[in-house]
């Protein structure tokens, strides 16, 4: 499939999810097309993390349908594994494997899931470490890297699985201010290569630069969805206006 195909690569329709009795997602529908870059924002607790975590089944939705690249996420573990191998994810807390070197972090997936030889996996890993501008750190352990470097390794680790979709869950929220740029630069790079991306982030400058679509969530619902030009200059809903005024005021 390419950018011109009419079918969305991610299709969520009427998705609801509860944590115990608390409903975190309320009848959420979202379509993302191949090559499209979507930035999800909203106040904390609005369900934006849960939304993207449902896309690779880190969370299970209880109502509605989620179809990723033609595969429905249901109870079938094979479907889930297939989807996971197509979808990369980058976490707020990096979640690198501390007992493995940077290189081993990147080669584990390709070797154990894709069945690549160590040599091929290492070549692949070095290629992506190059791409996130960190090849010289390959032999180090994550603990000796800065936060920004760790997050770039985490991006490389996901890319090594050669996913068709990348999910970012507040990738810069745990970083010191001076390290945010190096991570955003890598993400912008990735965006320019045509990767389908869904980012939960509060980096509105980044959103303006790369997003095709802005999605605003509040209390488990998608309240507004529009291109960034319109989203920032003339938001439709009062809730969006309030949020933007708070987040952009400083």
């Amino acid at each position: 499939m390419n950018e011109n195909t009419p079918n969305p690569i991610i299709e969520m329709s009427g998705v609801s999810k509860w944590f115990d009795d608390f409903q975190v997602l309320k009848d959420v529908s979202l379509q993302v097309f191949s090559g499209e870059r979507v930035v999800v924002c909203g106040p904390s607790g609005s369900g934006k993390s849960t939304l993207i975590r449902c896309i690779n089944r880190l969370e299970e939705h209880q109502e509605g349908r989620i179809v990723v690249d033609g595969i429905e996420l249901d109870q079938d573990t094979q479907h889930i594994n297939k989807v996971r191998s197509e979808v990369g994810m980058v976490f707020q807390q990096f979640n690198l494997f501390p007992h493995l070197t940077v290189l081993e972090n990147c080669t584990l997936g390709p070797m154990k899931v894709r069945g690549l030889s160590r040599k091929d996996a290492e070549a692949l890993a070095m290629e992506y470490l190059q791409r996130v501008r960190i090849p010289e750190q390959a032999a180090k352990y994550p603990g000796s890297l800065s936060g920004g470097q760790q997050q770039r390794v985490a991006i490389a680790r996901s890319l090594c699985m050669q996913p068709r979709i990348m999910l970012f869950d507040e990738p810069t929220s745990a970083l010191d201010p001076e390290m945010i740029k190096e991570v955003l630069d890598v993400m912008i790079d990735l965006a320019e290569s045509g990767m389908t991306m869904i980012c939960v982030t509060h980096e509105m400058g980044f959103a303006r630069t790369v997003a095709h679509q802005m999605v605003f969530m509040d209390e488990g619902r998608i309240i507004e969805r529009s291109p960034p030009g319109k989203f920032f200059s003339e938001p439709e809903h009062e809730r969006t206006k309030l949020f933007l005024s708070q987040i952009l005021s400083h």
Binding site: G88, Q93, N95, F97, P98, V113, A154, M161
Partner: protein
Amino acid sequence: MSELRKPPFRSVKWWNSRWFDISQLVLFFGALIWLTLNGAAQMGYNWQWYRLPKYFWKVIDGELIWGPLMDGLFVTLEIGLYGIIITLLIGLTTAMLRMSQSWIGNLVAQVYLEVIRNTPLLVQMYVFYFVFAPILEIPRFWVGVLCISFFEGTFASEIIRAGILSVHRGQWEASTSIGLSRWNTYRYIVLPQAVPLMLPPLTGVLINLIKHSAIVSVIAVFDLTTQGLDIIADTFMSFEIWLTIAAMYLGITIVLSLLVSVLEWRVRGRH
């Protein structure tokens, strides 16, 4: 670059010096040994250390024959070896059951833990020996091994469970998000991080296993303790034999601790 400064010299008071430390230790144990020997002499105990070696081994016609103490040691080591393997298997299985989604699995694990933890080991040994062994036709050696393993398995399972739970949830999520299966996640991500944390408390359990194995003497398995009781019944050398046996158990447990330390050092070596 500024010059590197050395820390200022501090003189050590004589009562903080190493030699004073050592002299105190020597003095303490000297007094203890003197008291023991003096006490034994006063109660008229007749030390017969010279009779001890033949209970280790004899050489007859150039052939080495193990004495009862060595036979007992081998049986204790055998119980320890099988015991450690079975304890770890039971511990791992119980930990998995407790962490599983299965209601029945949880129940089985919980009942096992509560029953074993809340009854005396000695009573468990009798129940195993007099009730289960005849029904299931288990030889007494295995009654001993299984009973001790089930007992220590309760402690091992808690340690294993705590170790696995201590690995951050984000590690699971990162691992599944790159597509690793549950089994591979355990093998490559969770256990390598959990095992170094489990090893020190697990060593304690395995050492307890060796020590508690002395209890098989009540079902007449010929381990170190049983052999000792037999020799004493023959010779009345209770001081010599019990001191020797205590030293032998100490030897086993120290070697075990050292082995685990080496293992720990190898597992922890990196990062």
